[in-house]
Amino acid sequence: MPKLTYRQALNDAFSEEIERDENVFLMGEEVAQYDGAYKVTQGLWKKYGDYRVVDAPISEAGFIGLGVGASMLGLRPVMELMFWSFAYVAFDQLINNAGNIRYMSGGLIHCPIVIRGPANGGTNVGATHSHTPENFIANTPGLKVCCPATAADAKGLMKTAIRDNDPVYVMENTLLYGEEWEVPEGEHLVPLGKADVKREGSDITFVAHGRAVITSLQAADILEAERGIKAEVVDLRSIRPLDADTVLNSVKKTNRVVLVEENKPFCGVGAQLASMIQLEAFDHLDAPIQRVSSIDAPAIYSPPLEKVQLPSPADVVAAAEKIL
């Protein structure tokens, strides 16, 4: 299998879907002539032109809402938010309109839109630019949200998201764009609602999404090397729909679980998982569920402190050791 960057894998997904379906177009700030602020759409404007790859002014409420409207008429907009943090300017469109239109029309209308961009901390861009709103989105029935952790998943989930008939919000990560993974050649689709066991193990389960998957894999390596403990790492990939079975089966096998995310703890994804696990696998738990998330404060700028604020492999190991 060829190795591709996360960025290139996404880029390939866009090319393939643009060619496959004439309703697919890309829109966002700097996505066309500038090749994208993070170069995720590099070369696409050159290849497909203004019709399929559209630069938008700085008007998130306007152009995201426009995308929702266009999707009501059957187009398949793939809208870039330069940062998911800028979604907050467009929340009414993202939540009230895209999230509710199908329901409020009694199923007469649907919105096959993708809204995507990076949502992560760790790059010292401060509190206004470091939001991870997957939990806000997952809190809205009607919306789907996924957070790919590898290049292959980024490509496969993006292609699926574009073909899905509901609004799918894809949260990427600027720290992963340049990382390489093997990506299957040819048509590669990853279904929404299917977790992936990124590492098999029998002693403890780590459940994570996005870059926290990488952190969890590193923690699992440390535990194995230092204590011979075999941790299983479940990558949720998609947050809503959620692959409850894979999570529960892993917990039933290992009887111990640490929930890892880069989000803040209150009402984070881990809170929903913890509720589900204690309700549906209570008898299988040998220890309290542990959660690892960012330190509960706005994202600090100071570079060494921001490192501390985000979950590290050592934090995951420490949480695991509490219940081993």
């Binding site: 700030e29 700097e30 002539q33 500038y34 090749d35 602020a37 170069k39 630069d55 002014p57 700085i58 008007s59 998130e60 409420a61 306007g62 943090s85 800028f86 907050y88 300017v89 790059t123 010292n124 861009v125 401060g126 509190a127 206004t128 630019h129 803040k264 703890p265 209150f266 998330s293 330190i295 509960d296 404060a297 706005p298 600090i300 700028y301 100071s302 570079p303 060494p304 402190l305 921001e306 501390v308 604020q309």
Partner: protein, 359 residues
């Protein structure tokens, strides 16, 4: 004559400039030199990896912040976007606290919590430093509302970029400012680009310019070139007078240019959305510092020798700020959860009631 042509005329004799003492004029020059030197140094420090995140430089635009802020009194206020180093130094923030903030040190103006885009100094009536494009524009109206509510005569300068004028929040703020007669002045620093996008590709506007959109809200407006600090002062003063005498808002569009890329990483700023030639032409024709130096020398206010001393003093001040920042400590880990809630930090009854943090 168009507004722009009128504005091209010398404003040296306008009362607001004619009344300046030689020392005050040199002060304006010194402030522009200090800002430029500060930023040139931050660029090289950034390239050494000592500053994280973004660094949006103001080089080329110094006359706007310095000229406008020089007009303000104790009850006037300033708020701006993420390209904020110039405004911060112009309102009197120290290089030490500004530099230390970039280093993420505890001695920074925001204790290392905000970074380059988020400078604040409420003691100097400076309300930030805002990272979200146009996010500061309703806040500017709010500051003006608070002045009016308290019956304090004053004006608010709310700076924004040419790209920011396309955000809904700005338009809502304009309507409120006009509807409620708020003494706010929106200063559009039109440097021709929003990141890699030229105005032509991003902005539909009337022929008179971006600021002419003001007419839709019944707001007074003006457009003028900003490289000459006298022009900046003369035209901004009219808006301040309007705020004081009539409690009415104004939109000013000031034509300017940024020499550097949008932020430090900007792959296409010299051979993509604009050209090296364009940048060089701006530097030779419209450099605010070179221009003002020439004017002051012609006026007999400044001598070449003194200009060199000012440059040297600015360099020394920046070097000391770098030393200060380098030697300052990083914040303690416990600082991460400080400054989140007033009530918790102040250990009030409210702060002690209920759980505020969830780690």
């Amino acid at each position: 004559m168009t507004n722009m042509e009128q504005a091209e005329e010398s404003h040296a004799a306008d009362p607001i400039n004619a009344s300046l003492s030689a020392e005050e004029k040199i002060g304006l020059y010194r402030d522009m030199v200090r800002i430029r030197r500060f930023e040139q140094t931050t660029l090289s420090i950034y390239q050494k990896g000592k500053i994280g995140g973004f660094l949006h430089l103001y080089i080329g635009q110094e006359s706007l912040a310095v000229g406008a802020v020089s007009l303000l009194g104790d009850t006037d206020h300033v708020i701006t976007a993420y390209r904020d180093h110039g405004h911060a130094l112009a309102v009197g923030m120290s290089m030490n606290e500004c530099m230390a903030e970039l280093y993420g040190k505890a001695t920074g103006c925001s204790k290392g919590k905000g970074g380059s885009m988020h400078y604040f100094a409420p003691d100097k009536n400076f309300w930030g430093g805002h990272g979200i494009v146009a996010g500061q524009t309703p806040l500017g109206a709010g500051l003006a509302f608070a002045l009016k509510y308290r019956k304090v005569p004053g004006a608010v300068l709310c700076f924004l970029g040419d790209g920011a004028i396309n955000q809904g929040a700005f338009h809502e703020a304009l309507n409120l400012a006009s509807l409620w007669d708020l003494p706010v002045i929106y200063v559009i620093e039109n440097n021709g680009y929003s990141m890699g996008t030229s105005q032509l590709r991003s902005t539909a506007h009337p022929q008179g310019g971006l600021a002419q959109r003001a007419e839709g809200y019944g707001i007074a407006w003006d457009i003028f070139p900003g490289a000459d600090v006298y022009t900046m002062r003369a035209c901004t003063q009219k808006a301040i007078d309007r705020a004081y005498k009539k409690s009415r808002p104004t939109i000013l569009e000031v034509v300017t240019y940024r020499y550097q890329g949008h932020s430090v990483a900007d792959s296409k700023h010299k051979d993509g959305y604009r050209t090296k030639e364009e940048i060089e032409a701006q530097k030779t024709l419209n450099d605010p510092i070179a221009r003002f130096k020439k004017i002051l020398i012609e006026e007999g206010v400044l001598a070449e020798e003194q200009s060199k001393e000012i440059q040297a003093a600015a360099k020394l001040e920046v070097d000391l700020a770098v030393k200060f920042a380098e030697e300052s400590p990083f914040p303690e880990e416990a600082a991460i959860t400080e400054d989140v809630y007033y009530e918790v930090d102040e250990k009030t009854e409210a702060g002690r009631t209920g759980r505020h943090f969830f780690n």
